[in-house]
């Protein structure tokens, strides 16, 4: 971020006279023009689509008025709104694509209004599986990794084994876990758990083994006991990297979850998408996929905020 960018105060004209706002106005106006697609498909109420467009522009204004990079905000706003505009024009307005496969934005977003309770309960269910498996894997992987990494003999024995196991993706033996576990819930939590456990565990062992000797010596001469060494010295020292790895681990967990829901679930957002695809209801499938993207983004933003709050030092 350059100084000029930071200091420049954006006045009202600056907020209103730019490409994203222009695109927003065009898209919103287009919604009210006659549609060709409506000759073949029942069009839903555009209110949800208008809401999404408005949300985009408000979010853009927030970013534009904020401290971040303004040019980046404009570029992203332009790309996103151009996408919506093209989508609206090509489907609803001109009907240039097979309407079954490429649904209109009005209909996709209206699905949320029609199915909100169904989708929310699916989300709750998925988040329950995801977060249980992910958090268990994180907590156990980090703490076991620290403990094993601290004792050289244990570390040398366990590290190669963990490394070997971590190369096998959990979804390879996922179906087997689904077969042997009594319920689908425990099975999918376990698959999600193993999806990230081995790599978290292995990375942690490695980090403890390669930690700066000066930090360890300083702690030793302060006469810390083993518990303090592990959890007040090594843990905070490695925290920045733990959090960095968290966002990768979260994406892997989400993938594993979607996979698990596709093989055996009867609810959840992954299941919602699969069932919509099975019934060739691409409108709902689109809605489900957007929904998943938004959920992951929100979780990733949460991790970024966590990192900013926790890590005030750099090393």
């Amino acid at each position: 971020m350059s100084a000029a960018n930071k200091d420049a105060k954006i006045g009202l004209p600056g907020m209103l006279l730019n490409l994203p706002v222009f695109l927003y106005i065009i898209s919103a106006a287009l919604v009210f023009l006659p549609s060709r697609m409506s000759e073949r498909v029942t069009m839903s109420n555009p209110v949800a689509f208008l809401f999404v467009l408005t949300f985009c522009i408000v979010f853009f204004w927030v970013k534009l008025g904020g401290k971040g990079d303004k040019r980046q905000a404009k570029d992203i706003g332009t790309v996103v709104l151009t996408f919506f505009l093209l989508w609206e024009v090509i489907t609803t307005k001109l009907d240039r694509l097979p309407y079954i496969f490429v649904p209109a934005p009005e209909n996709v977003f209206y699905s949320y209004i029609q199915l909100w309770d169904y989708m929310l309960s699916g989300l709750a269910r998925s988040m329950y599986l995801l977060l249980t498996g992910f958090i268990a894997s994180l907590v156990l992987g980090v703490s076991l990794g620290i403990a094993v990494g601290w004792f050289p003999r244990l570390r040398q024995a366990v590290f190669p084994i963990a490394k070997a196991i971590s190369t096998v993706p959990a979804i390879v033996y996922g179906p087997y876990i689904v077969v042997i576990m009594p319920t689908f819930t425990t099975a999918s939590i376990l698959v999600i758990f193993f999806g990230t456990f081995w790599s978290t565990f292995m990375n942690m062992i490695n980090r403890v083994g390669t930690i700066d000797a000066r930090i360890i010596n300083t702690a030793k001469v302060l006469n810390v006991n083993t518990r303090t060494m592990l959890f007040s010295i090594i843990m905070p020292y490695t925290l920045p990297r733990i959090i960095n790895d968290m966002s990768v681990a979260l994406s892997i967990s989400m993938m594993t979850l979607t996979f698990a829901e596709m093989i055996g679930a009867d609810r959840g957002i992954g299941y919602f998408v699969r069932r919509s695809l099975d019934y060739a209801n691409y409108t709902q499938a689109f809605a489900g996929i957007f929904f998943i993207a938004v959920v992951i983004t929100v979780l990733q933003v949460f991790i970024a905020v966590l990192k900013k709050k926790l890590i005030k030092w750099n090393y």
Binding site: N217, T218, V221, L222
Partner: protein, 266 residues
């Protein structure tokens, strides 16, 4: 018997198949309250010797007694200041100091810890920087915090391995003065073992200089100049100049031996 006693101490580094004798049968005594400087050329084993005293290294043979008892590992009667990166980067100044106290004084309340932490940061002149992270402080300030942390546990013995080695000359003078003042103001003086390869620094600080030839202590040189010592007038003092010359010659011969007895011009 009080004080530090080093008895027939040897240490061998083993790296793979290779063995390297770093300390060869060292014996000496350090009295309570003495300020000792260890000087010697690079690689002669100063840090290794201090490592044994710190308890971070185990001797291959021989032992170290403190007040008649052999040491095993680190201990609360000893505090250490290393050369660099000695603060925990995620803790601010006062948290670093408090962390040190907490490890040996589990009985103190949060308030007492805070007060003691503040007291010692004030002593090293950092009252206004209590909440700064190490990354936001200069090297000199970080060493001040490290000294405050070492002193705050009220150790009997203070071990310092080139604590000012990475600090610019001007700041170094201030820190030497500060250290001397803090050492002198105690009723019952701490025993200090201070490694340096700055001869002037050693003469300014020490009661006794241990000069190390590789692997052993070759000379024990008492520094009898009265305290408080003043750096500016010290250079006019004949005793100082004689001592300094003696040490420079020791260093010089040391270097000469090192490269095979050929004539060297420094």
């Amino acid at each position: 018997m009080s004080g530090i006693e080093i008895q027939e101490l040897s240490l061998v580094y083993k790296t793979g198949r290779e063995k390297f004798l770093a300390l060869d049968n060292i014996s000496t005594r350090i009295e309570d309250g003495e300020f000792i400087c260890v000087v010697g050329s690079s690689g002669c084993g100063k840090s290794t010797l201090l490592g044994v005293l710190e308890g971070l290294m185990t001797p291959s043979s021989g032992r170290v007694l403190i007040d008649g008892k052999p040491i095993h590992g680190t201990g609360p009667e000893r505090a250490v200041v290393f050369q660099q990166y000695t603060l925990f980067p995620w803790m601010n100044a006062i948290q670093n100091v408090i962390f040190g106290i907490k490890q040996v004084r589990r009985d103190l309340s949060a308030k007492q810890l805070e007060d003691t932490g503040m007291e010692f940061l004030q002593k090293v002149g950092l009252k206004d920087f209590m909440y700064k992270l190490p990354g936001e402080m200069s090297g000199g300030m970080q060493q001040r915090v490290a000294i405050a942390r070492a002193l705050a546990v009220n150790p009997k013995i203070l071990l310092m391995d080139e604590p000012f080695g990475a600090i610019d000359a001007k700041t170094r003078l201030t820190l030497q003065e500060m250290l001397l003042k803090l050492w002198a103001e105690d009723e019952k003086k701490k025993t200090v073992v201070f490694v340096t390869h700055d001869i002037d620094e050693a003469i300014l600080l020490a009661d006794k200089i241990l000069f190390m030839a590789p692997k052993r202590i070759s000379h024990e040189i008492p520094v009898t100049m009265p305290r408080p010592r003043d750096r500016d007038s010290m250079y006019d003092n004949k005793k100082f100049r004689d001592l300094r010359n003696k040490l420079v010659i020791l260093f010089y011969n040391e270097v000469k031996e090192h490269i095979g007895g050929e004539e060297v011009f420094l």
